[in-house]
Symmetry: C2
Subunit: 275 residues, 2 copies
Amino acid sequence: MAAAATAAWAQRLAGVRGLLLDVSGVLYDGGDGGGTPIPGSPEAVARIKQSGLKLRFCTNESQKSREKFVGLLQRLGFDISVDEVTAPAPAACQVLKQRGLQPYLLVHDDVRSEFDKMDTSNPNCVVIADAGEGFSYQNLNEAFRVLVSLENPVLLSLGKGRYYKETDGLMLDVGPYMKALEYACDVQAEVVGKPAPEFFQAALKEMGTEAHETIMIGDDIVNDVGGAQRCGMRALQVRTGKFRPCDERHPEVKADGYVNDLAEAVDLILQYANK
Amino acid sequence: MAAAATAAWAQRLAGVRGLLLDVSGVLYDGGDGGGTPIPGSPEAVARIKQSGLKLRFCTNESQKSREKFVGLLQRLGFDISVDEVTAPAPAACQVLKQRGLQPYLLVHDDVRSEFDKMDTSNPNCVVIADAGEGFSYQNLNEAFRVLVSLENPVLLSLGKGRYYKETDGLMLDVGPYMKALEYACDVQAEVVGKPAPEFFQAALKEMGTEAHETIMIGDDIVNDVGGAQRCGMRALQVRTGKFRPCDERHPEVKADGYVNDLAEAVDLILQYANK
Protein backbone atom coordinates (compact mmCIF):
# COMPACT_ATOMS: atom_id res chain seq x y z
CA MET A 1 0.00 0.00 0.00
CA ALA A 2 1.25 3.47 -0.84
CA ALA A 3 2.46 5.62 2.05
CA ALA A 4 -0.44 8.05 1.70
CA ALA A 5 -3.01 5.27 1.86
CA THR A 6 -1.26 3.77 4.86
CA ALA A 7 -1.32 7.10 6.66
CA ALA A 8 -5.00 7.57 5.83
CA TRP A 9 -5.96 4.19 7.26
CA ALA A 10 -3.78 4.73 10.32
CA GLN A 11 -5.67 7.96 10.99
CA ARG A 12 -9.12 6.48 10.32
CA LEU A 13 -8.55 3.51 12.59
CA ALA A 14 -6.53 5.08 15.41
CA GLY A 15 -7.77 4.13 18.86
CA VAL A 16 -10.37 1.57 17.79
CA ARG A 17 -11.04 -0.80 20.70
CA GLY A 18 -14.38 -2.32 19.76
CA LEU A 19 -16.10 -3.59 16.61
CA LEU A 20 -19.82 -3.70 15.95
CA LEU A 21 -20.53 -6.10 13.11
CA ASP A 22 -23.64 -6.16 10.99
CA VAL A 23 -24.46 -9.79 10.15
CA SER A 24 -26.49 -10.28 6.94
CA GLY A 25 -24.34 -9.23 3.98
CA VAL A 26 -21.21 -9.00 6.15
CA LEU A 27 -20.88 -12.48 7.68
CA TYR A 28 -23.15 -14.33 5.25
CA ASP A 29 -25.79 -14.06 2.54
CA GLY A 30 -29.06 -15.77 3.50
CA GLY A 31 -30.90 -18.05 1.11
CA ASP A 32 -32.16 -21.53 0.52
CA GLY A 33 -30.80 -24.00 3.06
CA GLY A 34 -29.78 -21.16 5.38
CA GLY A 35 -27.38 -19.32 3.10
CA THR A 36 -23.63 -19.23 2.60
CA PRO A 37 -20.81 -17.55 4.51
CA ILE A 38 -19.04 -14.70 2.74
CA PRO A 39 -15.53 -16.03 2.01
CA GLY A 40 -13.05 -15.10 4.74
CA SER A 41 -15.70 -13.91 7.21
CA PRO A 42 -15.63 -16.90 9.63
CA GLU A 43 -11.84 -16.56 9.89
CA ALA A 44 -12.14 -12.77 10.29
CA VAL A 45 -14.47 -13.18 13.28
CA ALA A 46 -12.04 -15.67 14.82
CA ARG A 47 -9.15 -13.25 14.32
CA ILE A 48 -11.02 -10.39 16.03
CA LYS A 49 -11.68 -12.62 19.02
CA GLN A 50 -8.03 -13.70 19.21
CA SER A 51 -6.86 -10.08 19.01
CA GLY A 52 -8.37 -8.96 22.28
CA LEU A 53 -10.50 -6.30 20.56
CA LYS A 54 -14.07 -6.08 21.86
CA LEU A 55 -16.69 -7.49 19.52
CA ARG A 56 -20.47 -7.42 19.30
CA PHE A 57 -22.94 -8.34 16.56
CA CYS A 58 -25.50 -5.61 15.86
CA THR A 59 -28.19 -6.86 13.51
CA ASN A 60 -31.62 -5.86 12.27
CA GLU A 61 -32.43 -9.53 11.64
CA SER A 62 -36.07 -9.82 12.61
CA GLN A 63 -37.17 -12.91 10.70
CA LYS A 64 -35.67 -15.37 13.20
CA SER A 65 -35.34 -15.55 16.98
CA ARG A 66 -31.80 -15.00 18.23
CA GLU A 67 -31.54 -18.72 19.07
CA LYS A 68 -32.40 -19.79 15.52
CA PHE A 69 -30.26 -17.09 13.95
CA VAL A 70 -27.20 -17.89 16.06
CA GLY A 71 -27.68 -21.64 15.48
CA LEU A 72 -27.64 -21.01 11.73
CA LEU A 73 -24.48 -18.90 11.93
CA GLN A 74 -22.74 -21.55 14.06
CA ARG A 75 -23.58 -24.19 11.44
CA LEU A 76 -22.05 -21.87 8.82
CA GLY A 77 -18.78 -21.91 10.81
CA PHE A 78 -18.99 -18.73 12.91
CA ASP A 79 -17.83 -18.44 16.52
CA ILE A 80 -20.89 -16.61 17.88
CA SER A 81 -23.25 -16.97 20.84
CA VAL A 82 -26.69 -15.53 21.64
CA ASP A 83 -25.37 -13.19 24.33
CA GLU A 84 -23.07 -11.47 21.82
CA VAL A 85 -26.01 -10.34 19.64
CA THR A 86 -27.98 -7.08 19.81
CA ALA A 87 -31.22 -7.61 17.88
CA PRO A 88 -34.45 -5.61 17.50
CA ALA A 89 -37.05 -8.10 18.77
CA PRO A 90 -35.84 -8.03 22.40
CA ALA A 91 -35.50 -4.25 22.15
CA ALA A 92 -39.11 -4.02 20.95
CA CYS A 93 -40.28 -6.17 23.88
CA GLN A 94 -38.68 -3.68 26.26
CA VAL A 95 -40.52 -0.79 24.58
CA LEU A 96 -43.82 -2.67 24.73
CA LYS A 97 -43.38 -3.45 28.43
CA GLN A 98 -42.35 0.09 29.34
CA ARG A 99 -45.39 1.57 27.62
CA GLY A 100 -47.92 -1.14 28.50
CA LEU A 101 -48.62 -1.89 24.84
CA GLN A 102 -50.29 -5.08 23.57
CA PRO A 103 -49.10 -5.79 20.05
CA TYR A 104 -50.62 -7.21 16.93
CA LEU A 105 -47.59 -9.07 15.54
CA LEU A 106 -46.98 -8.84 11.79
CA VAL A 107 -43.87 -11.00 12.04
CA HIS A 108 -42.40 -14.25 10.75
CA ASP A 109 -43.31 -17.40 12.67
CA ASP A 110 -39.61 -18.00 13.36
CA VAL A 111 -39.32 -14.84 15.50
CA ARG A 112 -42.65 -15.19 17.32
CA SER A 113 -41.01 -16.94 20.30
CA GLU A 114 -39.21 -13.66 21.18
CA PHE A 115 -42.66 -12.23 21.97
CA ASP A 116 -43.86 -15.21 24.02
CA LYS A 117 -44.36 -13.15 27.17
CA MET A 118 -46.36 -10.40 25.46
CA ASP A 119 -50.13 -10.15 25.83
CA THR A 120 -51.47 -10.01 22.27
CA SER A 121 -55.17 -9.95 23.12
CA ASN A 122 -56.99 -6.68 22.32
CA PRO A 123 -53.99 -5.19 20.50
CA ASN A 124 -53.40 -1.45 20.89
CA CYS A 125 -50.38 -1.26 18.60
CA VAL A 126 -48.76 -3.07 15.68
CA VAL A 127 -45.25 -4.53 15.61
CA ILE A 128 -43.93 -5.12 12.10
CA ALA A 129 -40.79 -7.10 11.32
CA ASP A 130 -39.31 -8.85 8.29
CA ALA A 131 -42.19 -11.28 7.84
CA GLY A 132 -41.02 -12.58 4.44
CA GLU A 133 -43.77 -14.72 2.94
CA GLY A 134 -45.86 -13.69 5.95
CA PHE A 135 -46.40 -10.34 4.19
CA SER A 136 -49.57 -11.63 2.56
CA TYR A 137 -52.34 -9.23 1.59
CA GLN A 138 -54.49 -10.68 4.35
CA ASN A 139 -51.89 -10.21 7.09
CA LEU A 140 -51.00 -6.65 6.05
CA ASN A 141 -54.70 -5.81 5.84
CA GLU A 142 -55.27 -7.19 9.34
CA ALA A 143 -52.45 -4.99 10.70
CA PHE A 144 -53.97 -2.03 8.84
CA ARG A 145 -57.39 -2.67 10.38
CA VAL A 146 -55.89 -2.75 13.88
CA LEU A 147 -54.09 0.56 13.32
CA VAL A 148 -56.97 2.35 11.62
CA SER A 149 -59.28 1.44 14.49
CA LEU A 150 -57.04 3.07 17.12
CA GLU A 151 -57.48 6.66 18.17
CA ASN A 152 -53.72 7.01 18.67
CA PRO A 153 -52.19 4.38 16.40
CA VAL A 154 -48.71 3.11 17.36
CA LEU A 155 -46.59 1.30 14.80
CA LEU A 156 -43.24 -0.19 15.90
CA SER A 157 -41.02 -1.30 13.04
CA LEU A 158 -38.06 -3.64 13.61
CA GLY A 159 -35.70 -1.79 11.30
CA LYS A 160 -36.55 0.13 8.15
CA GLY A 161 -34.21 -1.50 5.61
CA ARG A 162 -35.30 -1.41 1.97
CA TYR A 163 -33.97 -4.79 0.95
CA TYR A 164 -31.26 -7.32 1.63
CA LYS A 165 -29.40 -9.82 -0.49
CA GLU A 166 -29.97 -13.53 -0.50
CA THR A 167 -28.04 -16.02 -2.58
CA ASP A 168 -30.64 -15.91 -5.37
CA GLY A 169 -31.19 -12.17 -5.45
CA LEU A 170 -32.44 -9.09 -3.60
CA MET A 171 -35.32 -9.47 -1.14
CA LEU A 172 -37.69 -6.80 0.16
CA ASP A 173 -37.03 -6.01 3.81
CA VAL A 174 -39.45 -4.61 6.40
CA GLY A 175 -39.02 -0.94 5.39
CA PRO A 176 -41.30 -0.95 2.33
CA TYR A 177 -44.08 -2.61 4.32
CA MET A 178 -43.59 -0.10 7.14
CA LYS A 179 -44.05 2.67 4.54
CA ALA A 180 -47.19 0.97 3.24
CA LEU A 181 -48.79 1.02 6.71
CA GLU A 182 -47.58 4.56 7.38
CA TYR A 183 -49.34 5.75 4.23
CA ALA A 184 -52.48 3.66 4.72
CA CYS A 185 -53.04 4.94 8.27
CA ASP A 186 -51.37 8.36 8.13
CA VAL A 187 -49.08 7.37 10.99
CA GLN A 188 -45.33 7.66 11.58
CA ALA A 189 -43.62 4.41 12.56
CA GLU A 190 -41.20 4.27 15.46
CA VAL A 191 -38.12 2.32 14.36
CA VAL A 192 -36.60 -0.17 16.80
CA GLY A 193 -33.22 -1.36 15.49
CA LYS A 194 -30.63 0.34 13.32
CA PRO A 195 -30.46 3.29 12.62
CA ALA A 196 -32.22 4.27 15.88
CA PRO A 197 -29.58 5.83 18.20
CA GLU A 198 -31.03 4.03 21.24
CA PHE A 199 -30.29 0.72 19.54
CA PHE A 200 -26.65 1.53 18.77
CA GLN A 201 -26.23 2.91 22.29
CA ALA A 202 -27.61 -0.30 23.80
CA ALA A 203 -25.10 -2.30 21.73
CA LEU A 204 -22.23 -0.06 22.90
CA LYS A 205 -23.30 -0.45 26.53
CA GLU A 206 -23.48 -4.22 26.16
CA MET A 207 -20.01 -4.27 24.54
CA GLY A 208 -18.50 -1.87 27.09
CA THR A 209 -16.84 0.63 24.75
CA GLU A 210 -17.37 4.32 24.04
CA ALA A 211 -18.68 5.51 20.68
CA HIS A 212 -15.40 7.27 19.75
CA GLU A 213 -13.39 4.06 20.20
CA THR A 214 -15.85 1.86 18.30
CA ILE A 215 -16.20 1.10 14.60
CA MET A 216 -19.31 -0.26 12.87
CA ILE A 217 -18.90 -2.52 9.84
CA GLY A 218 -21.92 -3.01 7.62
CA ASP A 219 -23.23 -3.33 4.07
CA ASP A 220 -26.00 -0.71 4.44
CA ILE A 221 -24.76 2.80 3.77
CA VAL A 222 -27.74 4.47 5.48
CA ASN A 223 -28.74 2.22 8.36
CA ASP A 224 -25.31 0.84 9.33
CA VAL A 225 -22.85 3.55 8.29
CA GLY A 226 -24.99 6.67 8.63
CA GLY A 227 -26.70 5.44 11.79
CA ALA A 228 -23.44 4.59 13.58
CA GLN A 229 -21.78 7.85 12.53
CA ARG A 230 -24.68 9.86 13.96
CA CYS A 231 -23.92 8.18 17.29
CA GLY A 232 -20.28 9.29 17.18
CA MET A 233 -18.83 6.01 15.91
CA ARG A 234 -16.70 5.46 12.86
CA ALA A 235 -18.09 3.14 10.20
CA LEU A 236 -16.83 1.11 7.26
CA GLN A 237 -18.93 -0.16 4.37
CA VAL A 238 -18.12 -3.57 2.93
CA ARG A 239 -18.56 -4.25 -0.79
CA THR A 240 -20.51 -7.45 -0.06
CA GLY A 241 -24.19 -8.14 0.61
CA LYS A 242 -26.48 -5.40 -0.65
CA PHE A 243 -23.59 -3.03 -1.44
CA ARG A 244 -23.96 -1.29 -4.81
CA PRO A 245 -21.25 0.85 -6.44
CA CYS A 246 -23.48 3.96 -6.27
CA ASP A 247 -23.32 3.69 -2.45
CA GLU A 248 -19.81 5.18 -2.63
CA ARG A 249 -21.38 8.33 -4.14
CA HIS A 250 -24.29 8.49 -1.69
CA PRO A 251 -25.54 12.09 -1.48
CA GLU A 252 -25.79 12.17 2.31
CA VAL A 253 -23.58 9.50 3.86
CA LYS A 254 -19.85 8.98 3.45
CA ALA A 255 -18.26 6.02 5.17
CA ASP A 256 -14.96 6.41 7.00
CA GLY A 257 -13.69 3.79 4.59
CA TYR A 258 -14.83 1.29 1.98
CA VAL A 259 -13.40 -2.25 2.03
CA ASN A 260 -13.93 -5.28 -0.17
CA ASP A 261 -15.16 -7.48 2.65
CA LEU A 262 -14.95 -8.15 6.38
CA ALA A 263 -11.63 -9.96 5.95
CA GLU A 264 -10.05 -6.82 4.49
CA ALA A 265 -11.60 -4.66 7.23
CA VAL A 266 -10.11 -6.89 9.92
CA ASP A 267 -6.70 -6.93 8.21
CA LEU A 268 -6.65 -3.13 8.29
CA ILE A 269 -7.98 -2.82 11.83
CA LEU A 270 -5.48 -5.30 13.23
CA GLN A 271 -2.72 -3.47 11.40
CA TYR A 272 -3.64 0.12 12.25
CA ALA A 273 -6.06 0.26 15.20
CA ASN A 274 -3.38 0.49 17.84
CA LYS A 275 -0.79 2.45 15.91
CA MET B 1 -84.94 22.99 4.63
CA ALA B 2 -84.29 26.41 6.09
CA ALA B 3 -84.09 29.32 3.66
CA ALA B 4 -80.36 29.85 4.25
CA ALA B 5 -79.58 26.20 3.53
CA THR B 6 -81.72 26.32 0.41
CA ALA B 7 -79.90 29.38 -0.83
CA ALA B 8 -76.53 27.77 -0.10
CA TRP B 9 -77.38 24.65 -2.12
CA ALA B 10 -78.86 26.74 -4.94
CA GLN B 11 -75.56 28.62 -5.16
CA ARG B 12 -73.39 25.50 -4.91
CA LEU B 13 -75.27 23.65 -7.62
CA ALA B 14 -76.08 26.46 -10.03
CA GLY B 15 -75.36 25.62 -13.65
CA VAL B 16 -74.47 21.96 -13.14
CA ARG B 17 -74.96 20.10 -16.43
CA GLY B 18 -72.88 16.97 -15.91
CA LEU B 19 -72.19 14.50 -13.09
CA LEU B 20 -69.07 12.41 -12.66
CA LEU B 21 -69.80 9.55 -10.29
CA ASP B 22 -67.25 7.56 -8.36
CA VAL B 23 -68.42 3.96 -8.16
CA SER B 24 -67.07 1.96 -5.17
CA GLY B 25 -68.51 3.45 -1.98
CA VAL B 26 -71.00 5.60 -3.93
CA LEU B 27 -72.97 3.07 -5.99
CA TYR B 28 -72.07 -0.05 -4.03
CA ASP B 29 -69.79 -1.60 -1.44
CA GLY B 30 -67.79 -4.54 -2.80
CA GLY B 31 -67.46 -7.81 -0.93
CA ASP B 32 -68.18 -11.51 -1.00
CA GLY B 33 -70.49 -12.47 -3.84
CA GLY B 34 -69.83 -9.16 -5.59
CA GLY B 35 -71.07 -6.78 -2.93
CA THR B 36 -74.26 -4.87 -2.23
CA PRO B 37 -75.75 -1.70 -3.69
CA ILE B 38 -75.91 1.31 -1.40
CA PRO B 39 -79.64 1.84 -0.74
CA GLY B 40 -81.16 4.33 -3.16
CA SER B 41 -78.19 4.42 -5.53
CA PRO B 42 -79.65 2.33 -8.39
CA GLU B 43 -82.72 4.60 -8.41
CA ALA B 44 -80.54 7.70 -8.20
CA VAL B 45 -78.61 6.67 -11.32
CA ALA B 46 -81.89 6.06 -13.14
CA ARG B 47 -83.18 9.48 -12.11
CA ILE B 48 -80.06 11.23 -13.41
CA LYS B 49 -80.49 9.50 -16.76
CA GLN B 50 -84.17 10.48 -16.94
CA SER B 51 -83.35 14.09 -16.09
CA GLY B 52 -81.32 14.81 -19.21
CA LEU B 53 -78.21 15.70 -17.18
CA LYS B 54 -74.99 14.30 -18.58
CA LEU B 55 -73.54 11.39 -16.64
CA ARG B 56 -70.28 9.49 -16.58
CA PHE B 57 -68.73 7.02 -14.17
CA CYS B 58 -65.16 7.89 -13.14
CA THR B 59 -63.59 5.08 -11.18
CA ASN B 60 -60.17 3.99 -9.95
CA GLU B 61 -61.38 0.38 -9.96
CA SER B 62 -58.34 -1.55 -11.12
CA GLN B 63 -59.05 -5.04 -9.82
CA LYS B 64 -61.46 -5.96 -12.63
CA SER B 65 -61.70 -5.32 -16.36
CA ARG B 66 -64.42 -2.83 -17.34
CA GLU B 67 -66.48 -5.71 -18.75
CA LYS B 68 -66.43 -7.65 -15.47
CA PHE B 69 -66.97 -4.54 -13.40
CA VAL B 70 -69.93 -3.31 -15.44
CA GLY B 71 -71.44 -6.81 -15.52
CA LEU B 72 -71.32 -6.89 -11.72
CA LEU B 73 -72.97 -3.47 -11.43
CA GLN B 74 -75.70 -4.47 -13.87
CA ARG B 75 -76.42 -7.57 -11.77
CA LEU B 76 -76.68 -5.28 -8.73
CA GLY B 77 -79.41 -3.33 -10.54
CA PHE B 78 -77.54 -0.40 -12.10
CA ASP B 79 -78.24 1.04 -15.54
CA ILE B 80 -74.62 1.27 -16.73
CA SER B 81 -72.64 0.27 -19.82
CA VAL B 82 -68.93 -0.13 -20.55
CA ASP B 83 -68.76 2.98 -22.73
CA GLU B 84 -69.96 5.17 -19.86
CA VAL B 85 -66.96 4.27 -17.68
CA THR B 86 -63.60 6.05 -17.39
CA ALA B 87 -61.16 3.63 -15.73
CA PRO B 88 -57.40 3.63 -15.17
CA ALA B 89 -56.36 0.42 -16.97
CA PRO B 90 -57.20 1.70 -20.48
CA ALA B 91 -55.58 5.02 -19.59
CA ALA B 92 -52.41 3.18 -18.54
CA CYS B 93 -52.38 1.25 -21.82
CA GLN B 94 -52.36 4.57 -23.70
CA VAL B 95 -49.39 5.80 -21.66
CA LEU B 96 -47.50 2.54 -22.24
CA LYS B 97 -48.10 2.73 -26.01
CA GLN B 98 -47.15 6.40 -26.27
CA ARG B 99 -43.87 5.82 -24.46
CA GLY B 100 -43.02 2.40 -25.90
CA LEU B 101 -42.96 0.79 -22.45
CA GLN B 102 -43.19 -2.96 -21.80
CA PRO B 103 -44.75 -3.53 -18.39
CA TYR B 104 -44.30 -6.03 -15.64
CA LEU B 105 -47.91 -6.28 -14.43
CA LEU B 106 -48.49 -6.41 -10.68
CA VAL B 107 -52.27 -6.61 -11.14
CA HIS B 108 -55.23 -8.82 -10.33
CA ASP B 109 -55.95 -11.64 -12.78
CA ASP B 110 -59.41 -10.15 -13.39
CA VAL B 111 -57.96 -6.98 -14.96
CA ARG B 112 -55.20 -8.67 -16.97
CA SER B 113 -57.35 -8.81 -20.13
CA GLU B 114 -57.20 -4.99 -20.37
CA PHE B 115 -53.47 -5.38 -21.06
CA ASP B 116 -53.84 -8.19 -23.62
CA LYS B 117 -52.22 -6.18 -26.41
CA MET B 118 -49.20 -5.16 -24.38
CA ASP B 119 -45.81 -6.79 -24.85
CA THR B 120 -44.75 -7.94 -21.40
CA SER B 121 -41.50 -9.63 -22.39
CA ASN B 122 -38.32 -7.92 -21.15
CA PRO B 123 -40.20 -5.44 -18.97
CA ASN B 124 -38.80 -1.91 -18.71
CA CYS B 125 -41.41 -0.60 -16.28
CA VAL B 126 -43.85 -1.79 -13.62
CA VAL B 127 -47.61 -1.25 -13.64
CA ILE B 128 -49.21 -1.65 -10.22
CA ALA B 129 -52.96 -1.86 -9.64
CA ASP B 130 -55.25 -3.09 -6.87
CA ALA B 131 -54.03 -6.69 -6.96
CA GLY B 132 -55.84 -7.75 -3.78
CA GLU B 133 -54.63 -11.21 -2.76
CA GLY B 134 -52.17 -10.90 -5.67
CA PHE B 135 -50.10 -8.63 -3.42
CA SER B 136 -48.11 -11.61 -2.17
CA TYR B 137 -44.55 -11.15 -0.94
CA GLN B 138 -43.31 -13.01 -3.99
CA ASN B 139 -45.18 -10.83 -6.50
CA LEU B 140 -44.18 -7.55 -4.84
CA ASN B 141 -40.59 -8.77 -4.68
CA GLU B 142 -40.64 -9.62 -8.37
CA ALA B 143 -41.88 -6.11 -9.22
CA PHE B 144 -39.16 -4.69 -6.97
CA ARG B 145 -36.48 -6.72 -8.74
CA VAL B 146 -37.64 -5.43 -12.13
CA LEU B 147 -37.53 -1.81 -10.95
CA VAL B 148 -34.22 -2.05 -9.11
CA SER B 149 -32.56 -3.53 -12.19
CA LEU B 150 -33.54 -0.57 -14.41
CA GLU B 151 -31.29 2.41 -14.88
CA ASN B 152 -34.33 4.70 -15.14
CA PRO B 153 -37.09 2.89 -13.27
CA VAL B 154 -40.67 3.74 -14.27
CA LEU B 155 -43.56 2.86 -11.95
CA LEU B 156 -47.12 3.48 -13.13
CA SER B 157 -49.74 3.20 -10.38
CA LEU B 158 -53.45 2.83 -11.19
CA GLY B 159 -54.65 5.20 -8.50
CA LYS B 160 -53.08 5.88 -5.12
CA GLY B 161 -56.00 5.26 -2.78
CA ARG B 162 -55.21 4.20 0.77
CA TYR B 163 -58.12 1.84 1.28
CA TYR B 164 -61.71 1.17 0.32
CA LYS B 165 -64.66 -0.36 2.08
CA GLU B 166 -66.07 -3.79 1.43
CA THR B 167 -69.07 -5.26 3.16
CA ASP B 168 -66.91 -6.94 5.81
CA GLY B 169 -64.54 -4.08 6.48
CA LEU B 170 -61.82 -1.79 5.13
CA MET B 171 -59.42 -3.16 2.49
CA LEU B 172 -55.96 -1.89 1.55
CA ASP B 173 -55.97 -0.28 -1.89
CA VAL B 174 -53.06 0.10 -4.32
CA GLY B 175 -51.62 3.25 -2.70
CA PRO B 176 -49.80 1.59 0.21
CA TYR B 177 -48.16 -0.89 -2.17
CA MET B 178 -47.18 1.95 -4.50
CA LYS B 179 -45.49 3.63 -1.51
CA ALA B 180 -43.71 0.37 -0.64
CA LEU B 181 -42.15 0.16 -4.12
CA GLU B 182 -41.36 3.89 -4.15
CA TYR B 183 -39.40 3.47 -0.92
CA ALA B 184 -37.74 0.19 -1.89
CA CYS B 185 -36.44 1.57 -5.22
CA ASP B 186 -36.15 5.29 -4.42
CA VAL B 187 -38.49 6.09 -7.30
CA GLN B 188 -41.55 8.35 -7.67
CA ALA B 189 -44.61 6.63 -9.08
CA GLU B 190 -46.64 8.22 -11.86
CA VAL B 191 -50.33 7.95 -10.96
CA VAL B 192 -52.79 7.02 -13.71
CA GLY B 193 -56.37 7.51 -12.46
CA LYS B 194 -57.83 9.89 -9.89
CA PRO B 195 -56.51 12.35 -8.71
CA ALA B 196 -54.37 12.86 -11.86
CA PRO B 197 -55.73 15.89 -13.76
CA GLU B 198 -55.27 14.13 -17.12
CA PHE B 199 -57.65 11.43 -15.96
CA PHE B 200 -60.42 13.83 -14.90
CA GLN B 201 -59.92 15.80 -18.12
CA ALA B 202 -60.31 12.64 -20.20
CA ALA B 203 -63.58 11.87 -18.37
CA LEU B 204 -64.86 15.42 -19.02
CA LYS B 205 -63.99 15.16 -22.70
CA GLU B 206 -65.74 11.81 -22.97
CA MET B 207 -68.84 13.26 -21.24
CA GLY B 208 -68.80 16.47 -23.25
CA THR B 209 -69.06 19.04 -20.46
CA GLU B 210 -66.78 21.79 -19.20
CA ALA B 211 -65.20 21.57 -15.75
CA HIS B 212 -67.14 24.55 -14.39
CA GLU B 213 -70.50 22.95 -15.27
CA THR B 214 -69.58 19.50 -13.86
CA ILE B 215 -69.80 18.09 -10.36
CA MET B 216 -67.90 15.07 -9.03
CA ILE B 217 -69.54 12.87 -6.38
CA GLY B 218 -67.27 10.55 -4.43
CA ASP B 219 -66.47 9.02 -1.05
CA ASP B 220 -62.74 9.88 -1.10
CA ILE B 221 -62.05 13.38 0.19
CA VAL B 222 -58.59 13.57 -1.36
CA ASN B 223 -58.74 11.63 -4.62
CA ASP B 224 -62.34 12.37 -5.64
CA VAL B 225 -63.13 15.72 -4.07
CA GLY B 226 -59.70 17.34 -3.98
CA GLY B 227 -58.72 15.95 -7.37
CA ALA B 228 -61.87 17.20 -9.12
CA GLN B 229 -61.68 20.62 -7.48
CA ARG B 230 -58.10 21.07 -8.69
CA CYS B 231 -59.46 20.60 -12.21
CA GLY B 232 -62.04 23.35 -11.74
CA MET B 233 -65.00 21.12 -10.96
CA ARG B 234 -67.26 21.22 -7.96
CA ALA B 235 -67.33 18.12 -5.78
CA LEU B 236 -69.59 16.54 -3.15
CA GLN B 237 -68.53 13.93 -0.62
CA VAL B 238 -71.03 11.22 0.28
CA ARG B 239 -71.17 9.81 3.81
CA THR B 240 -71.07 6.23 2.48
CA GLY B 241 -68.24 3.88 1.52
CA LYS B 242 -64.94 4.82 3.11
CA PHE B 243 -66.26 8.17 4.42
CA ARG B 244 -65.18 8.90 8.00
CA PRO B 245 -66.50 11.82 10.09
CA CYS B 246 -63.01 13.33 10.32
CA ASP B 247 -63.12 13.83 6.53
CA GLU B 248 -65.38 16.85 7.11
CA ARG B 249 -62.51 18.46 9.05
CA HIS B 250 -59.80 17.54 6.52
CA PRO B 251 -56.91 19.98 6.86
CA GLU B 252 -56.49 20.56 3.11
CA VAL B 253 -59.67 19.67 1.25
CA LYS B 254 -63.17 21.05 1.77
CA ALA B 255 -65.97 19.62 -0.36
CA ASP B 256 -68.53 21.94 -1.95
CA GLY B 257 -71.06 19.97 0.07
CA TYR B 258 -71.45 16.83 2.19
CA VAL B 259 -74.47 14.58 1.62
CA ASN B 260 -75.63 11.38 3.25
CA ASP B 261 -75.59 9.36 0.05
CA LEU B 262 -75.94 9.52 -3.71
CA ALA B 263 -79.73 9.61 -3.43
CA GLU B 264 -79.58 12.84 -1.41
CA ALA B 265 -77.03 14.32 -3.81
CA VAL B 266 -79.32 13.64 -6.75
CA ASP B 267 -82.34 15.06 -4.91
CA LEU B 268 -80.44 18.30 -4.38
CA ILE B 269 -79.00 18.47 -7.87
CA LEU B 270 -82.35 17.88 -9.55
CA GLN B 271 -83.88 20.52 -7.30
CA TYR B 272 -81.22 23.22 -7.59
CA ALA B 273 -78.95 22.63 -10.58
CA ASN B 274 -81.06 24.59 -13.03
CA LYS B 275 -82.36 27.26 -10.69
